[in-house]
């Protein structure tokens, strides 16, 4: 093989020691699993935090047994204080947005499958790749430390709005060391993501195997590539923001703290800073972050849908062009999070317009999915169900975005549960459905065993109905004027809404409990599941042309050459109605009558 376009081989020998093989591994597959495992721990932690909050909202004075052991000050006698509610709110948001929605669909699956899907044997910079995970893991540990220090976790929310997040302990519990740990953790997280994005981009550009042109990249790889471009520029802005926040907190600077601020009867020793500056920096990252969570899910779902429908999407190129458009526009809309911040009303109008424009590519993608699924002979396995569920929650959550994009409506709705319902559906639940679809789809490849499909379907239906029961009523609560971030609704005009809150809480407990079915399925199938063939879904992309799980160098020393695009479904192939990308059989012909 003298072809200079061939992929790079592993520049590190297969490790033999436990530490190099499973802990400080350079193998992108192990790193992908590490990211996925970290996301799994984080998602269950975040979910338990949401249970605690939901319980407290409707049974405000009831003790939660054992909670006082976690925080003596935050939950004396097991009854949560309003401040501790906010601490849990902060940690729930931070864990879910950063350590779950960014880690699993992008860093987890992307690390494992991007190199294989382009025909490479590892990432471009394996050492940076290893560093990216361990820096992220360190970020997780630093964040978790805030649970065990006397100060407790911060109360300023996952957005850490200044000046609350910048002034220190005078402003409340968690705002001394807890908030500093938060800022350090997120700063570290940014470093990890930057290293990861660097690898994803260089690998996609330079390590594609022979024949793997850009137009032959699977849609999931396109999604990870676009996401890494978004993430590269977004995290590069959040990192400086965290540096400035840390300096305000520990070095006495005044980037975000205005003059004359009196908190707890103490004049703060700062002057002239701009709280709005933090919001600009944060949301310049924060809005692209929504797409960092959702674009990989869009790619994963498109990838799975084609294997389920046995035909390509109506136009794959339009889907990835729309993803590029979304990525581009995502940098122009951050101000729609700040309609209430006191910025110039004309600025609101300027941000409202691209926000409405961004719905166009999102709608195009959705229409392509629905138009493609229409009339298809779907294989209704669990990954397919979660993919269809993704479309449903993505649309249901996205529609409320049309309302929130308009400043005149947002002024009324921004501080209410309407917004909570919107972003949980369109960002949280939709991305989680993408992650779950990907989990059921790729588990056989990652573990060499199949997951139980019956348990998977049970998990899907409880989750699908459950999330609608939880998050659709949020929209109604918001329209009824239910403010968010309150820790209880006793003795005020919100009392009539309590029965609905109780319904949501019960739905949250049931839906959350259903996630343990998934966890059980994951662990049980890992050891006792039926052995997985190399290509259980009759799919076309390169990960299915190697063994399950793939060998250390991904293709067992074979130099893969790509002859076909990734969407050759519904054709007369040698092995069925599909042709694999590395199959040397002739160009496909459409199935007669299709």
């Amino acid at each position: 093989m003298s072809d200079a376009s061939a992929p790079v081989v592993h520049q590190h020998a297969p490790p033999t020691s436990f530490i190099r093989k499973w802990v400080f591994s350079l193998d992108h597959k192990v790193i992908g699993k590490q990211y996925y495992g970290l996301a799994l721990i984080s998602v269950f932690l975040g979910m338990i935090l949401s249970w605690l909050m939901r319980f407290h909202l409707v049974w405000t004075n009831a003790a939660i047994p054992g909670l006082q052991l976690i925080s003596k000050n935050g939950a004396p006698g097991g009854v949560m204080t309003p401040e501790y509610y906010l601490s849990l709110l902060t940690m729930h948001g931070t864990l879910m947005v950063f350590f779950v929605l960014t880690n699993a669909p992008f860093a987890g699956f992307g690390n494992y499958f991007l190199p294989i899907q382009v025909g490479a044997e590892d990432m471009a910079f394996p050492r940076f790749n290893m560093m990216s995970f361990w820096v992220t893991f360190l970020a997780f540990l630093v964040l978790m430390t805030s649970f065990v220090i006397p100060d407790g976790p911060p109360i300023s929310g996952w957005t850490a709005y200044a000046p609350l997040s910048a002034v220190g302990k005078d402003a409340g519990p968690g705002l001394a060391w807890g908030q500093t740990l938060w800022a350090i953790s997120i700063g570290l997280f940014c470093v990890g993501q930057l290293l990861g994005s660097l690898n994803f981009i260089a690998t996609t550009l330079d390590l594609r195997t022979k024949g793997m042109t850009l137009s032959r990249l699977p849609i999931s790889t396109w999604a990870w590539f676009i996401t890494s471009c978004i993430g590269l520029l977004a995290f590069a802005v959040l990192l400086p923001a965290c540096v400035l926040l840390i300096l305000d907190r520990v070095a006495g600077t005044s980037f975000f703290i205005p003059a004359g601020l009196v908190i707890s009867d103490r004049l703060q020793p700062h002057a002239g800073g701009s709280p709005l500056l933090w919001q600009h920096l944060f949301w310049f990252f924060g809005h692209p972050e929504v797409y960092i969570a959702i674009v990989p899910a869009v790619g994963i779902v498109s990838h799975i849908l084609m294997a389920s429908m046995r035909k390509p999407l109506l136009s794959v190129k339009v889907v990835y062009s729309s993803m590029i458009a979304i990525g581009f526009l995502s940098y122009m809309v951050w101000g729609h999070h700040m309609f209430l911040s006191g910025m110039n009303p004309f600025s609101g109008l300027v941000f409202s317009f691209p926000t409405l424009v961004i719905t166009i590519p999102a709608t195009i993608i959705t229409m392509i999915w629905i138009g493609s699924v229409y009339g298809a002979n779907l294989r209704f396995h669990t990954p397919c169900l979660f993919s269809l569920g993704f479309i449903s929650v993505f649309v249901a959550g996205g529609v409320s975005g049309f309302f929130l994009a308009q400043p005149s409506l947002d002024i009324q709705l921004h501080g209410t549960y309407f917004v909570v319902g919107h972003f949980h559906m369109v960002m949280g639940v939709a991305a989680i459905f993408g992650i779950l679809a990907g989990s059921y789809f790729w588990f056989p490849k990652m573990s060499g065993r199949m997951m139980n499909d019956t348990l998977g379907k049970l998990h899907f239906w409880i989750t699908f109905i459950g999330v609608y029961c939880i998050f659709m009523p949020f929209h109604y609560l918001g329209l009824a004027g239910n403010v968010r971030r309150y820790s209880s609704f006793v003795n005020d005009y919100l009392q009539p809404l309590l029965p609905l809150h109780k319904f949501i809480t019960i739905a949250a407990f049931i839906t959350g409990a259903a996630q343990f079915i998934f966890l059980f399925n994951l662990i049980y199938s890992r050891f006792k599941g039926a052995p997985a063939p190399a290509n259980p879904w009759d799919a076309t992309s390169l990960e299915w042309s190697t063994t399950s799980p793939p060998p250390f160098d991904n293709f067992g020393g074979r130099h893969v050459v790509v002859y076909h695009g990734p969407n050759e479904y519904g054709v007369n192939g040698a092995h069925g109605d599909f042709i694999m990308q590395d199959s040397s059989e002739p160009a496909p012909e459409p199935v007669p009558g299709d």
Binding site: S2, A124, T203, L233, F235, L247, P258, A259, L277
Partner: protein, 192 residues
Amino acid sequence: MPTIALQTDRGVRCATQNATALSGIWVAIAAITMAFAAFTSSLIIRQGSGDDWRHLALPGVLYLNTLVLLASSLTLEIARRKDASNLASMRSWLYLTFALGIVFLGGQILAWYQLRAQGLYLATSPNSSFFYVLTVMHALHVLGGLAGFVYAIRRTLSPSLWRTATLDAAATYWHFLAGLWVYLLLVLRMRL
């Protein structure tokens, strides 16, 4: 197995490495550009948000440092233009580039001491805060560049493709740092 043996052919690895190293550097440059755009945008917004913005005279040594950094870009280009028959000369020019990088960092440290001597610390005023933040952040990236040079100097003994790949990547990054510094100096000069 012959396939494996062929796949580890160094020529192939070098060719691919050349591309990935350069791509990696350009991607890193995009991220660093974005980060400094965020820092300097913050400076402009912060200047307009309070009435505590006080003029700050830049330490004169900064201009000398600028010349040193630009000179290091020049010596680096001379090193890159040496062919394989003149490796000793190439290494000498690389050592000189490295030394100029160290001199630049030393000059920056001197500038910080000069500001301290005037009673201007990190938290004294927004101007001094931004001065320290921007210059320290740039210096940290210069340290990264110097680490790259250590690697590049070691690689001068490797086959030509390896050498070129590393040198191209290190040089692209170093020139970017010089350009970035000129931009920062202009911002500091006009805004502080």
